[in-house]
């Protein structure tokens, strides 16, 4: 008999998400429904505003991936007005965006996703010396892989768990057999969770240098407001650039010395997970990090393109301004379009609420997006896949 499992709220994400899974009698998921359960109406609120302010409104779509919506917004306005930004502004924006990529990947891995793979309570059983040996093997370039360091972290975890007040760690599935890591790997990951928590507040200082604050640094239609004056004391000068340089070096150390080795080490205990997911086999990336302006995707550091039906041999071109290539649909969402359920290009987009109650098939505050009339996946996996295919 089928079982319905509801996870609402889905935690360790930004926003509000509900997932329902229908399991068959062998506990295999046959169908799943995900629903965004929040709507704020920013598309509606933006109408009639000064386009120079739009970035600030759009930025508030997400405070975890802060910056990217603001950047997309200033680019949209510049595209509409035919503005080309100065080279220095392009470089500053690229640095800010890449800062966001790196910080966000590390946070997502350690602080958002890791607790699905790492059993915090199991770390109590770890032998600090064996953990140090493991860490030296996994991340030989990371300096704190010593017995003393892991003994301290183990003592911290032990005292914390024994206090009986688990705070954000309470009521989880600790000890469940689906957790596959040996105690030493769990202790190593918990230690690095704390390391990464300390580090993430450093890297984003790059946003503070150029945009004044983080989360939600400031942007400017037409360029970047942070003036450069190498002979001045009150603008971007050598001191500020060296500060940024140092933060970038720190980011390289943590990504290459800690994050990637940990990711590979933890993934090696969950090989079956590489066979799950993948979506419908259609992938799309706009590409980014322009070297010659946003209108020249051939010179993006992350390539643009579309892959359909898992055909990695062919990367199709993508024109985001083509109203047939990118569309949003509302057939399963609480919105209505003037002309039925035909998808619309974002430039023609309509956001008109049509709440019909919590029954399927319509139960979502998110629209559905399509590329070349196919459902597709976006994000970091897609970005990587395109880099791989394009041989960049």
């Amino acid at each position: 008999m089928a079982t319905r499992v509801v996870v609402d709220p889905v935690t360790r994400i930004e926003g509000h998400l509900r997932v329902e899974a229908i399991l068959d009698d062998k506990n295999v998921i046959g169908d799943a429904i995900s629903s965004g359960t929040m709507w704020r109406g920013i598309e509606v609120i933006l109408q009639g505003r000064d386009p120079r302010d739009a970035w600030a409104f759009c930025q508030r779509i997400c405070g975890v991936c802060t910056t990217v919506h603001a950047l997309a917004s200033v680019r949209a306005v510049e595209n509409a007005l035919g503005i080309t930004v100065p080279k220095n502004a392009e470089i500053i924006r690229n640095i800010m965006e890449l800062t966001q990529y790196v910080q966000d990947h590390v946070i997502h891995f350690y602080h958002l996703h890791a607790l699905d793979w790492v059993d915090v309570v199991s770390a109590l059983k770890a032998d600090p010396a064996a953990t140090a040996a493991l860490a030296q093997k996994v991340s030989p370039h990371w300096p704190t892989a010593t017995t003393g360091y892991f003994s301290d972290v183990a003592a911290t975890v032990k005292k914390f768990v024994e206090s009986g007040q688990l705070g954000i760690f309470q009521n989880a599935y600790w000890g469940h057999p689906a957790y596959k890591l040996p105690p030493e790997a769990n202790l190593m990951a918990v230690a690095h969770y704390l390391e990464a928590l300390k580090w993430q507040k450093e890297i984003i200082k790059i946003h503070t240098v150029f945009g004044g604050k983080n989360p939600h640094p400031h942007y400017l239609v037409g360029g970047a407001a942070s003036a450069i004056n190498l002979n001045g004391d009150n603008a971007i000068n050598v001191e500020r650039l060296e500060f940024v340089h140092d933060l970038i070096k720190g980011a390289q150390q943590i990504v290459e010395g800690l994050y990637l080795p940990d990711l590979l080490a933890i993934a090696s205990f969950y090989p079956e997970w590489t066979t799950y997911g993948g979506g419908l086999g259609n992938y799309m990336a706009y590409g980014d990090i322009p070297q010659n302006g946003v209108n020249d995707p051939a010179h993006f550091r992350f390539p643009r393109g579309v892959i359909l039906n898992k055909n990695l041999a062919e990367v199709l071109p993508l024109d985001p301004t083509d109203t047939q290539q990118i569309q949003e649909e509302v057939a399963h969402s609480w919105y209505k379009y003037p002309n039925g359920t035909q998808g619309l290009h974002p430039s023609e987009g309509v956001t008109e609420v049509n709440y019909t109650g919590p029954n399927l098939p319509t139960r979502n505050w998110m629209k559905t997006t399509a590329t070349r009339l196919s459902r597709r996946r976006v994000g970091k996996v897609t970005r990587w896949r395109l880099v791989h295919c394009r041989g960049c």
Binding site: R12, D50, D53, N171
Partner: protein, 370 residues
């Protein structure tokens, strides 16, 4: 067993975290400094942390973008932030907690029952009130009802950020979801408003440290904001103030004034009407704040700042909307009117300064009213 008997003091917890007494005392001293207290009060903080119980915190998320949570984990305070997180008992926070689904709702209900009248409710975001609150649901329940239910037995409420304090972006015109800040929905509980989009990390931890240390709400202004962080305009402590006084302004984004770091008032800076700690505490471990990076303040800690644009236009050009009979509208109009009055005043100060260069030390009059 009474809840208070099984509570651990902050010092107990720090000991359990392996923090020695020397580090503990150092932490207390730094906390005192962060709260602007004199060294004479350090023993009081030590005493409070040793004897006062940890407060369970339920941190709810309504219509928001999670920038407040992200800001919170950027706290640069001297003791490691994982310890700061555990100075309180953060029992519910759907951004960071390991559990999901019914397990987390179970935790919320358990804390509400076991610590009735004792827990602190932290609210990030606000509640949509239109159409029965369908625009935000958690666990199949409207956020509005969750907020009302969880507030009922809370000791006090901390309204994080401009969403919970003032309404913020989703409450900007035409406010399609009927988003309302906490103070308009919950009227029978003490509320600390900590506005900003987001608030500064160290302001957030500073507010919690105050509540924890003194077992009392910090002194609040008439808008419910802690005076220790919101009693001055950014303009009052702005490091570019000297350029304002001298009449030296950035006039274009790429002019000489921009390169020399002159005053951004003419580029729309809201520093003269924004009450916050950006120009004193600064952002991200003291690295800077918008003005230091050459970006004008957009006034994100002020009520209704989204409808007070364009951000790039200076305040003198703000159009005063018509006044109608609702108290909200009148308050709004007063706010805008004071902005206009202020702009006129600022212009006259500058004009006077420029005419009177021989007397650059002339003290400013307090400009405008709060």
């Amino acid at each position: 067993m009474e809840p208070s008997e099984r509570w651990l003091t902050t010092y107990d917890v720090l000991q359990k975290h392996g923090v020695d007494r020397r580090s503990f005392l150092k932490f207390c001293t730094q906390t005192a400094a962060a709260m602007g207290l004199s060294a004479a009060l350090v023993p009081k903080i030590v005493d409070a942390m040793e004897t006062k119980p940890r407060i369970p915190v339920l941190w709810l998320h309504g219509l928001e973008c999670t920038c407040c949570s992200e800001s919170f984990i950027r706290s640069a305070h001297p003791i490691a932030q994982d310890i700061v997180l555990n100075l309180i008992s953060l029992d519910y926070d759907d951004t960071l907690q390991a559990a999901a689904g019914f397990q987390v709702e179970e935790i919320r209900r358990k804390i509400m029952k076991d610590y009735k009248g004792q827990y602190l409710l932290a609210v990030e975001g606000n509640a949509p009130t239109n159409d029965g609150g369908v625009y935000c649901t958690v666990g199949g329940q409207t956020f509005l009802s969750i907020l009302e239910e969880t507030a009922a037995d809370a000791k006090a409420i901390v309204a994080w950020g401009s969403c919970a304090s003032n309404g913020c972006v989703q409450a900007a015109k035409p406010n399609p979801t009927g988003a309302k800040p906490v103070r308009k929905l919950i009227t029978n509980k003490p509320i600390i408003n900590v506005p900003g989009c987001p608030p500064i990390a160290d302001v957030m931890t500073g507010v919690l440290a105050y509540v924890l240390t003194f077992d009392a709400l910090p002194e609040l202004d008439r808008q419910g904001r802690p005076k220790m962080f919101y009693s001055q305009r950014l303009h009052d402590k702005c490091y570019r103030r000297a350029f304002f006084d001298a009449g030296q302004f950035v006039e274009a984004w790429d002019d000489e004034g921009a390169r020399k770091g002159w005053c951004l008032y003419k580029m729309g800076c809201r520093g003269p009407t924004t009450y916050n700690s950006c120009s004193t505490v600064c952002w991200n471990g003291g690295t800077g704040w918008p003005v230091k990076s050459g970006n004008p303040c957009i006034g994100c800690a002020e009520d209704n700042f989204w409808d007070n644009g364009p951000f790039s236009q200076r305040l003198a050009n703000v159009i005063v909307p018509g006044i109608d009979a609702t108290p909200d509208k009148i308050g709004e109009a007063l706010l805008v009117a004071s902005g206009v009055g202020l702009a006129a005043h600022l212009t006259s100060v500058v004009a006077r300064k420029q005419m009177n260069k021989s007397n650059p030390q002339e003290p400013d009059q307090p400009a405008g009213k709060e």
